[in-house]
């Protein structure tokens, strides 16, 4: 299972040598297009956690995120014959994921119950958590749960468009240019949405900020 470090590493690699990452994926895509259906599994293994993470943070529901992640890969599989490689595979699959999630969020008029993933235990020993525990004078276990709820709640208060930019940039570590390509907007629009979204989050999470 990829760690958070590997998520940013993948994109860092893609930025350092975008052609090679892109070419690697394109080679796999071409194998699938040639009839090697099993090769698609390589793409699933490579991107499933990134896609799940984006959708999970957009929906705050692990079951919905699981369904939508599967739906994303099935859509990609069905459409892969028409993928011409004009954009990178990761941009393409992220776009499918974002569009599917947006459609889902529009249909979901009322918020469903929120179901969380577990926070990795290593996190509770980070400097930030130490500092938060001191600041809020809350027991660590309780603080983890409280903060998790507050973060998800705050993200859900943002509009889907603002949430998308925050999730892709702050959690997934994508660059402004990559987000612009995925969301088919300009870099300026991405920056402005990010700025506004962070202002909103700052007010929602002010109790935890130093």
């Amino acid at each position: 299972m990829a760690t958070t470090g590997s998520v940013s590493k993948t994109f860092a690699q893609a930025q350092d040598a975008p052609l090679s990452e892109r070419d690697l994926d394109w080679a796999v895509v071409q194998r699938v297009q040639a009839g090697n259906v099993g090769a698609f599994d390589q793409l699933v293994q490579k991107y499933r956690e990134h896609i799940f993470s984006v959708i999970y943070n957009m929906t705050s529901n692990r079951e919905d995120a699981s369904d939508l992640t599967q739906e994303t890969f099935i859509k990609a599989f069905q459409a892969i014959a028409r993928f011409k490689g004009k954009s990178s595979f990761f941009t393409w699959i992220y776009r499918i994921a974002i569009n599917s999630t947006m459609t889902f969020l529009k249909k979901r008029s009322r918020r469903r119950y929120i179901s969380y993933e577990n926070i990795n235990e290593e996190v509770s020993s980070t400097e930030i958590f130490e500092s938060l525990t001191a600041k809020t004078r809350t027991e660590k276990g309780a603080l983890v749960q409280e903060l998790q709820e507050k973060l998800n709640d705050s993200l859900q208060k943002l509009s889907p468009k603002h949430r998308t930019v925050v999730v892709l940039h702050e959690i997934e570590g994508l660059s402004h240019a990559e987000i612009a390509e995925i969301t088919k907007t300009s870099v300026g629009t991405v920056r402005s949405r990010l700025h506004y979204a962070k202002q909103q989050l700052q007010s929602y999470l002010k109790d935890y900020l130093a």
Partner: protein
């Protein structure tokens, strides 16, 4: 020496808090179930055949398909505009029969009639109260059984309904008279 976080709390900003969300990750068991379900759904996708209309639509996604779609749309529009012309004309074998057919149509108003007539015959028709005929050509060769004429970029008048509610639609057309004498319009 153990770290004393209470002494100098780290400054925390929104980015730091959001970064914590990176650590919310599903377990290995979750991914095992995920892979199993995904493979099942993908197999179903492979086995399941799309309905015919989806396959046709998919075929229309290319440039050739677009051309076919445009041609089909043009054909539909042409049929809507010219369709009435196909309805009332009774198969004449000559110009005289065609005229008789039109005159009969005047008695019981028809939507549209198309026929090749002489100028005198057109004048005769226009004396009838409920019908108006437009002369679109004058050609003695029109009496020939397999007469064909291309109108090119000229427009052809298609009359509909009675003279009082007369409307015309212009269309570029090719008019021909087959051996049956039925006028046909080809776009």
């Amino acid at each position: 020496m153990a770290k004393q976080p209470n002494e100098r709390p780290t400054e925390i900003n929104v980015e730091d808090l959001l970064r914590l969300k990176r650590s919310e990750r599903p377990s290995e068991a979750f991914w095992n179930d995920f892979d199993r379900d995904l493979h099942q759904r993908m197999l179903q996708t492979l086995v399941k055949k799309d309905p015919w209309y989806l396959q046709v639509l998919r075929g229309f996604s290319g440039r050739i398909g677009q051309s076919i779609a445009v041609a089909a749309a043009a054909a539909v529009v042409a049929m809507v505009v010219v369709r009435p012309a196909f309805q009332p004309v009774v198969a004449p074998t000559s110009v005289a029969v065609a005229q008789a057919s039109v005159v009969e149509a005047v008695r019981a108003p028809v939507e549209v009639a198309v026929a090749e007539l002489s100028l005198a015959e057109v004048a005769e028709l226009n004396r009838a109260p409920d019908y108006h005929a437009d002369a679109i050509s004058v050609d003695t060769a029109a009496d020939d059984v397999n007469f064909v004429r291309d109108f090119g970029m000229e427009s052809m008048q298609v009359a509909s309904y009675e003279a009082s509610a007369y409307s015309t639609d212009s269309a570029h057309a090719r008019v021909s008279f087959a051996s049956t004498g039925v006028a046909s319009l080809v776009y």
